[in-house]
Symmetry: C2
Subunit: 335 residues, 2 copies
C-alpha cells in the first residue's frame, strides 16, 4: 500500500496545519514535522514519510462513493490522519518503543515530557482541521460528533490493549472489542466522515462506517498473524516475534484458551523473556494446532462483513470497487 | 474561591460524561473518577473534589452577562473544566509530580502508560460535551473552533513552559506569551464559549475572551508571587519554594535580567539543588530589589485590562459585577 497520489491535497492540508509560525513556538512544530517524516532530527527537509495513508484514502473514497467531489473530504481526511499520528506519538512512549518507521521515535529526541505534550498539540491541531470542511453547519456538527466518538473509542482501545498485557484471562470477544476501538474506530470515522462530507445521509454514512470498522479489525488480525508467522524476509522480523514481545495478539488469546497449548504458552508469558527459539517453537506449535488458520478465518469474516456493507447500498461503482480492493489487499498483504 | 453552588449542573454533566458503562472499559472510567475527586483509589465513593471551578464559573457568568439563560453554557463549562483536568493529568507526568490536591497523582496509581492514555481519554470526552450545547449549528461550529484554538494554545504554552526550564535566556514578553497560552487560553475560551452559547455575537464574545485571557495571566503572575513570597502559614510552602524547584516564574525571569541579581540567581539555578535557606535568601534579595513590587504591578495591569473589557460593552449588571469581583479576588488571594 504505497501512498496514493490522490492524497496530495490531504498532505498539503497537513503541512499547513503543522507549519512553524516563525516565533518561540517553532521548536514544537519542527518536532511534529520530524514525526511526520518531513524533516531530519536537526531540522533539514526530508521526504521520509512512510505512512501508507489507508485512513485518508478510505475517507476520500467514501466521499466519492456517495457522489461527493474530490475536495469535500480533504479536511476530514487530514484530521483523521493527524489523529492517527498523534496516537502513534503517545503509543511509542507508552510502549517504550524507541523507533518508529525505521527512525528514532519522537520522544527519544525530545524527552518524555515534551513527547507527551507534542502528542497533545498534534491532537488539538488534528481536530481543528475539521472546521475547514466545505459543508453546511449541521453536517459539520455531525462530523465533529463522529470524530469525537472515535477519539474516545481510540483511547478506550488503548486502555484495553495496555490492560490485556497484565490480565490473567482475555477472551476472543474481549480482543475483538479492543481492536474495534483501537484500530477500528478511526477507520470507521474515516469512512463515516468522508461519506457525510461527500453529502451522504447519516444512515448511508453509518453503513460505510461499519465497512471501515470491519476493515480495521481485519487489518489488525492480519497484522497479528504476520507478527507470528510472517515471512521473515518480507516482515523483517523473526517468526514468533510478537511472542518475544509478550503481545496478547488474537492468536495468542485463542491459544491461551486451548487446553493443550494454553498452559505451555502461559508459562512462556509469565517466565523470563522468551528466547527467539522459544518464540519460534511456540509459533510452530500454535500453527500445528490450527490457531493460524482460525485467526485467518476470523479476519476473513470481518473482511466479508466489510465487503457486504459496500454491496448493500447504492454507491458509485469505481470508488466502491476501490474500497473492496482495499479489503482484498489487507487480506493478502505479506508485510 | 470555594466551588459555587451554581456549578451543580456542570458537575452533573461531568459525572455523566465520565460514568462507567458496566463493561471491560470500566477501569479507565474509575481512574478518571478518582482523578476528578469522586472516588478513592480503591473505587469507593468520595467527595474530595477540590478544584475551585473558576473556569466553569467564568463560562456561566459570561453567558448570563450577555442575557443567556442558566443552561446554555453548561455543556461548554463542563468541556472546559474537563479539558483543564486532562491537562493536569499530563502535567503531573511531565513534571514528575507525585501529588495533586493532597492526593496521589493519577499516574502514580496507574503507571505512566495508562496515565498518558487516561489523559487522552479525558481530552476526547471533554470535547464531546460541546455537542450537548443547546445552540444553533452555526453557533456550535463557532464553539468548536474557539475550543480547538484554545487546546492548541494550551499545548503551545506547555511547550514553552517546559522549554524555559532549560533555556539560557527568557524575557518578560516570552513569559507573558507562555502564560497567555498555558493559563490564559482556557480562561479565554471559558468566557468566549459562555458568551457565544448565551447568544452573544462573535465580537462581544471576543471581548469577553480578552477578559478571560487577562484574568488568566493576572492569576498566574499572582500565583508566581505567592510561590516566592506567600505567607508560609497560608500557602503551606516555605518562602522561596519556587526557587527550590528552579521554576522560571515571572519574578525569576525579571530578576535574571537584573545586572545585580541576575548573575547570583543564575549561579543558584545552574548549581546543585538550592537549599531552603538559599531560596529564602534569594527571595528576600529579590524583594529588596523591587522585583516583587514590579511583578504585582504587572499582574495589576492585566487585572485592569480584564476589568476594562467588562466595562467597554453592554453587559447585564449582576454578572458583570461578579466577573469584576473575580478579578479582585485573584489579585487579593493569599493562597
Amino acid at each position: 500500500m504505497k501512498a496514493d497520489p490522490r492524497l496530495a491535497p490531504v498532505h498539503e492540508v497537513m503541512r499547513r496545519a503543522v507549519a512553524p509560525a516563525g516565533d518561540q513556538r517553532d521548536g514544537l512544530y519542527h518536532w511534529l514535522g520530524y514525526h511526520l517524516g518531513w524533516s531530519t532530527p536537526d531540522g533539514r527537509p526530508a521526504d521520509e514519510r512512510r505512512a501508507k495513508g489507508v485512513r485518508p484514502l478510505v475517507c476520500m473514497l467514501a466521499s466519492r462513493a456517495v457522489g461527493g467531489d474530490d475536495t469535500a473530504a480533504v479536511p476530514a481526511a487530514a484530521a483523521i490522519e493527524l489523529t492517527h499520528e498523534f496516537s502513534l506519538i503517545h503509543d511509542d512512549i507508552e510502549d517504550g518503543d524507541r523507533t518508529r518507521r525505521g527512525r528514532a521515535a519522537l520522544w527519544t529526541l525530545t524527552g518524555m515530557p515534551h513527547g507527551i505534550n507534542s502528542g497533545d498539540a498534534l491532537f488539538g491541531i488534528a481536530r481543528s482541521q475539521l472546521a475547514l470542511s466545505p459543508v453546511a453547519p449541521d453536517v459539520l456538527a455531525d462530523l465533529y460528533a463522529r470524530y469525537d466518538d472515535a477519539c474516545i473509542r481510540l483511547a478506550e482501545g488503548q486502555y484495553l490493549d495496555l490492560s490485556f498485557e497484565t490480565a490473567d484471562y482475555v477472551t476472543v470477544d474481549d480482543y475483538v472489542d479492543m481492536v474495534s476501538r483501537k484500530t477500528g474506530a478511526l477507520l470507521a470515522a474515516a469512512a463515516g466522515l468522508g461519506a457525510r462530507a461527500g453529502g451522504a445521509s447519516p444512515d448511508v454514512a453509518d453503513g460505510l462506517a461499519r465497512y471501515g470498522l470491519a476493515l480495521g479489525v481485519a487489518f489488525q488480525i492480519k497484522d497479528d498473524v504476520l507478527g507470528l508467522w510472517g515471512d521473515p524476509e518480507r516482515t523483517g522480523k523473526p517468526v514468533g516475534s510478537d511472542i518475544q514481545r509478550r503481545k496478547k495478539s488474537l492468536p495468542v488469546v485463542a491459544a491461551l484458551a486451548d487446553p493443550e497449548l494454553g498452559p505451555r504458552l502461559l508459562d512462556l508469558y509469565s517466565g523470563p523473556d522468551p528466547t527467539p527459539d522459544d518464540a519460534r517453537r511456540a509459533a510452530e506449535a500454535m500453527e500445528r494446532a490450527g490457531v493460524r488458520e482460525s485467526a485467518i478465518a476470523i479476519a476473513e469474516d470481518f473482511g466479508a462483513t466489510a465487503k457486504a456493507e459496500l454491496e448493500s447500498r447504492a454507491l458509485a461503482d469505481g470508488p466502491r470497487a476501490e474500497l473492496a480492493e482495499l479489503v482484498r489487499r489487507v487480506m493478502q498483504r505479506d508485510n
